[in-house]
Symmetry: C2
Subunit: 132 residues, 2 copies
DNA sequence: CTGCATCCGTTACGATACTG
DNA sequence: CAGTATCGTAACGGATGCAG
């Protein structure tokens, strides 16, 4: 593991930039963010608000709105409003977000591959500490 | 983007396994988890609780304890208790966790590289929606 | 030294009702 | 259809005090 490389990249950032980097990564792991991005990534065409909400199963309108707003602000999705009746709003994923998902893919694969390892680790731990 | 590949890996999991996978990834992004792992990864030798807390700047005892317990349960760190006076507890990172950090590295680099992009995106967004 | 228990403020989330 | 406003609940995280 070449941690000097990672540290060099980190040290080059101002405190403000480092904070922002942390925020971005943290935000990606919030409850509905990745799921929403995945839905938009799987769709070839832009999706209306209702279609996204159907596919991100269990999300509330409020939370989905918040997540989409944040993603838009981060430049990870685009939001297009059409002045029609009834109103239409379409969301689409950006290239930036697709790049990021590519990077995230190995991590997800790692997690799926090691699911059995984690189940075993949990079982062993719970046996040692039944109280917890 | 080859999403069929990602979907194939996902579809092979039971609902329970998929839930666990999601939990693992989510946990990695919790406030102090990655920072703690990074500290343990940088150290060649196992670290005592106090040493970890010194280096994970700003973490409370409570949060650090919780994070370390969870990491131990996931098999990402080991915890060794020495029956001495005063008590000594040493934490070390596992190979499994080091593998994971390797996979995570590109994502972190991506975030640092695009910090400027995000700042610009935020500025543009806030200009368009000053109310928000 | 380690780390658990408790209190407390903040934030996240969901349900519901309402607006352009 | 696509939100906004409001409310109530639950989880999170920090500070403090105490025990082994």
């Amino acid at each position: 593991m070449d941690w000097s490389q990672a540290n060099a990249a980190c040290d080059a950032l101002t405190e403000n930039e480092e904070s922002l980097t942390r925020d971005i990564v943290t935000r990606l792991a919030e409850k509905w963010t990745l799921w929403t991005l995945a839905v938009l990534a799987e769709s070839e065409a832009p999706l209306r608000f209702s279609r996204v909400m159907e596919q991100v199963e269990g999300v509330s309108q409020k939370s989905l709105t918040k997540v989409l707003r944040q993603l838009e602000r981060d430049g990870l999705v685009t939001r297009a409003v059409f002045a029609e009746v009834p109103p239409r709003v379409e969301y689409a994923i950006t290239e930036l977000a697709l790049d990021m998902l590519d990077l995230l893919h190995p991590l997800w694969q790692w997690a799926t591959v090691h699911v059995g390892t984690f189940q075993a680790a949990h079982a062993a731990y719970d046996k040692k500490r039944p109280a917890a």
